[in-house]
Symmetry: C2
């Protein structure tokens, strides 16, 4: 399937909505508009011309394991080499290790493009960036000097080795062991499953970040340490040296992302080194996990965009039945199906969800940038709190959204949507993993409410709501936007009340936390997107009033905002009513009675 | 994956909710409870022991086409032979042609079991029953005598050949031709796609029902005729005779139901015979299509049940994390995940949707039975109208529901849900077709509102609402049910108001029909299910009050009803608000602006 990066919308979000040039200045980064647009355009070319053409075949061909070697789909190795050679791998890496230290607000657009072009291909490189972050933040100087340059450049790739058969969500159940050696290294033994890119033929070395227990570790999550375990131990000259005692035991046969190897990794006394303090592995891993969760959110967004593009293309080409109001194209045998209101409903649902999510992604990326790069320490802390609040929403909402949008695309294609050659059903299969990995979406919702909302008694959430409320206040007096602004303002008021009710209920009964979590996250996301749609409408209205830019583009923004408010935002009502239904009706039934 | 027919619930629905024995008496059919339960139990055994074990392999092995022959997955041919030998094929067939003429209200339970055990396997036999109906109702005596016995017994299978590359939803665009011959037969030429079971190795003959145009036919849907085109023309002795000029040109590679052959069928001057009058093909085909749509609804239900069973089994076995309220099973390393409220939310959503839909299926099957078998002509007509109103709801809502329930099952399994060997992701892939074939769910929604609601100015819908309202009135005075009954009554009032608004808006602006159709169908379905849940709760309360049967079963029914009302029914609010958002926000955007 072809894929074209949505450059028009990306530029709108970056420049008009979030002033990325000003953002770069604040971060001390001298990127100007020309450079930013240049990166976007080059990225778009790479995604469309190099990566996207590999995606369909990668699904049919999959990965092959033989003699412990994984063969990735045709073309992946060459595309990965370009990815490294052209500096895409090092975009966000720290400059002291050869990275370009570009802001996430820019990089996330390129990453979205990669996800949309081929999720399978992106899986291999995505975790390396998280590994760089964890190592950079928590690793010893010696480990950093040995491994970071090659990870930043992408010559070496990183993985995250958390899951074991008995330990998925519940890392307390981890059994992998790390035995200290006299030279300060550790011997790591155990078996990990679901390791994305655990073995592959793209990079010359693979650096595994492995959660394991030291011999004297306390039980549970307080006894978990993070270790760096390379496939090849780095030689003194920085090249891959001795082969380590680890191997890929099997690769999984999956519903989707078949071009990405998902490995069982066996560590048989493999040599590793501690990252950070002993028993502090979870905290170190969370540095990586936050990045990974943001990236997985982008996967939902990227696949959503690709699915929307496919559906739109088909809806404009496919001739079937006449418009309800009479022939739209009398010269043709039938009208393009985009004339049918229900097809438009699906397309606009896709468009308004994808574009709404893109605004939230950029906003969240901005917080991540400010957390790491704002000159003021208090501002860094504030941005960190904001990002922490938003990341579970981005991860869970975007990936549910990506699945929904892909499913709408299948529906627009009708029976053809079910046929593999069109490439549309692949998007549904590929995106389904995003709701599961890096913490299922149920776990994201628990993280959101338990740690991020209840964790500070709702303070950060209130601050976010207040920020959006101010944005509404600023627009409510403009006649063209008053209806929209009032409607968003009303939802924000409802959200504040609902938040208080949820916090009170959760403090009264601990089961309420889990009973309302998913609905509360979804509710929050729909209202947040409404806030962003109001902002987009305000910028569009500005542009129409000043006559700058292409009027049709801004008109479409106003129309999408209107559609979102009228036809998508009502879902928030269902989530609100449902969560107010409470925990009792969930907990009442005896376990045995479920089987009747 | 294992599958066990939900006999407990089926017996509850058939005997306690809908008095199937009385229903059979009314139809002049002497089935008693013992016989009915015997059929259910034998059906359950066949589905669980013969069909279900074939399903996982059928997905991996798929179908193979070579030299025009399709090879179905291992075991399908033997299982099909048992299906024929043991009389499952002839359950609903007319008795004059060797059928058992069992009521749909009973048969639909067996069919649901088949769908749950293996949708791919069921696809081959499902359309034969529709072909029997169409031929029985519209065929000439000679055609019926030649073909019906073997179709009823299942020795020969039937297909539906509608779709062509340019003609999916829009049958007006059909090009396949039928040229009359001197002997009264026709030569059929053209290419059909997406023909389920178009070629297979299960039955000794395949009887295609083909839509085609006669030379003098008017353009559009008024020029379509239905023809019977056998793979082997029946010989005088009733055996398969001369091979007809038709062939399978290709089989599709699909997202799911890989064990079902989906064929491109080429008719190269194949001999066929008219069924019904020339140019009346669509009306004849609709006899078949209504049955097929009801069956596809059952597919959603069956897969939903299978997915719920899988999720429940896993949720009771999988140990991960501790319950929020403290360890539920302190002796184990962690608690079974069924202790977590959010897992219960998913399981109860599955359970209440599946069981709610099963009640609607039985209710709809009753109408189908009464339409054909009620002794009174006016009652037959009334039942036909009721069935016609409900069938698009059953088809669209059940199949959306099946997909949702399968997706919840994947989510309960976490990462394992994405791995093929567990068989859970297969349910998502298999069920996805049900939202597309026999008319996409968008088309069902248009049929519902345009033909079934607007067609008689809302009269039949009003009658249905009044019937449910009376059921509420009967329960609202019982203290144990008053809250439930009032809440359903309120929704019914809201539904009546909404219906009036929808009808008025559609009469004002034709675009509103397509703009509100899907939301209105979904809204209607959620409220209908609420009505059935109230009925189930009333029967459960009766049983608890009289102390009959197993109290825990009835207690669970009350709890499921309560859950549905509190946590699922709120979705109706979103559909209501969304559809009131109207058509303007769908139609405003220029086609070109979608691409920005």
């Amino acid at each position: 399937m072809s894929y074209q990066a949505p450059l028009c919308d990306m530029r709108f979000v970056l420049h008009e909505l979030f002033d990325i040039s000003g953002h770069c200045q604040l971060l001390g980064n001298g990127l100007d508009r020309e450079l930013i647009d240049g990166v976007l355009e080059e990225g778009a070319r790479y995604a469309a011309e190099v990566v996207a053409p590999l995606n369909r075949n990668s699904d049919e061909q999959g990965c092959q394991l033989s003699d412990g070697q994984v063969r990735t789909p045709d073309g992946f190795a060459e595309a990965y080499q370009q990815y490294v050679d052209n500096g895409w791998a090092s975009m966000t890496g720290p400059s002291e290790y050869g990275g370009q230290a570009l802001p996430q607000m820019l990089a996330c657009n390129f990453h979205e493009m990669l996800m949309g072009a081929s999720l399978s291909f992106r899986v291999y490189s995505g975790l390396t960036e998280g590994a760089v972050l964890a190592l950079y933040k928590h690793g010893s100087e010696s480990l950093k000097n040995t491994y970071l340059h090659k990870l930043v450049s992408g010559q070496w790739a990183g993985t995250m080795c958390l899951t074991e058969p008995q330990a998925g969500t519940d890392l307390a159940l981890l059994r992998t062991k790390a035995e200290p050696q006299a030279d300060g290294s550790f011997k790591v033994s155990g078996s990990k499953i679901f390791i994305s890119g655990g073995e592959q033929d793209l990079s010359e070395n693979i650096i595994h970040l492995v959660l394991a227990r030291l011999p004297d570790a306390p039980a549970g999550v307080k006894g978990i340490s993070l270790l760096l375990v390379p496939k090849f131990v780095a030689a003194a000259d920085g090249t891959p040296g001795e082969r380590n005692a680890l191997s890929c035991g099997a690769i999984e046969h999956k519903m989707g992302i078949k071009g990405a190897s998902t490995c069982v990794m066996n560590f048989d006394g493999a040599t590793g080194w501690l990252i950070g303090e002993a028993n502090q592995g979870l905290a170190c891993m969370f540095t990586m996990m936050n990045d990974a969760r943001f990236q997985v959110g982008l996967q939902g967004l990227g696949i959503g965009e690709a699915a929307f593009q496919g559906a739109l293309r088909y809806a404009r080409e496919r001739l079937q039945s006449r418009a309800l109001s009479g022939p739209a194209e009398p010269g043709k045998a039938a009208d393009p199906i985009i004339n049918h209101p229900d097809v438009r409903r699906m397309l606009l649902t896709q468009k308004s969800l994808v574009e709404g999510s893109r605004m939230l992604a950029a906003y969240c990326a901005r917080q991540l940038d400010l957390e790491h790069g704002h000159p003021d320490a208090a501002a860094r802390k504030a941005a960190g709190k904001r990002a922490a609040l938003l990341i579970p929403i981005v991860k869970a909402f975007f990936t549910d959204m990506g699945q929904e949008v892909a499913s709408h695309a299948v529906q627009v294609y009708g029976g053809h949507g079910f046929i593999r050659e069109w490439g549309i059903e692949q998007l549904m299969r590929d995106s389904r993993i995003t709701q599961l990995y890096e913490g299922t979406n149920g776990i994201q919702a628990l993280d959101y409410i338990r740690r991020k909302v209840l964790g500070d008694g709702g303070a950060e959430l209130s601050a976010l709501q207040a920020e959006f409320s101010e944005l509404c206040d600023a627009q409510v007096g403009r006649p063209a936007l008053a209806e929209l602004a009032k409607s968003v303002q009303a939802r924000l008021g409802e959200w504040r009340e609902l938040s208080s009710a949820v916090i009170a209920a959760s403090q009264r009964d601990v089961q309420e936390i889990g009973a309302v979590s998913v609905d509360f996250l979804q509710y929050s996301a729909y209202v947040l997107l409404a806030g962003f749609w109001l902002q987009a409408a305000a910028r569009a209205q500005d542009a129409l009033e000043t006559g700058s830019g292409e009027a049709a583009f801004y008109q479409a923004k106003l129309q999408s905002a209107d559609f979102y408010l009228r036809r998508v935002l009502p879902r928030a009502s269902a989530h609100r009513e449902s969560l107010l239904g409470g925990a009792d009706c969930l907990m009442a039934m005896d376990e045995a009675s479920f089987a009747f």
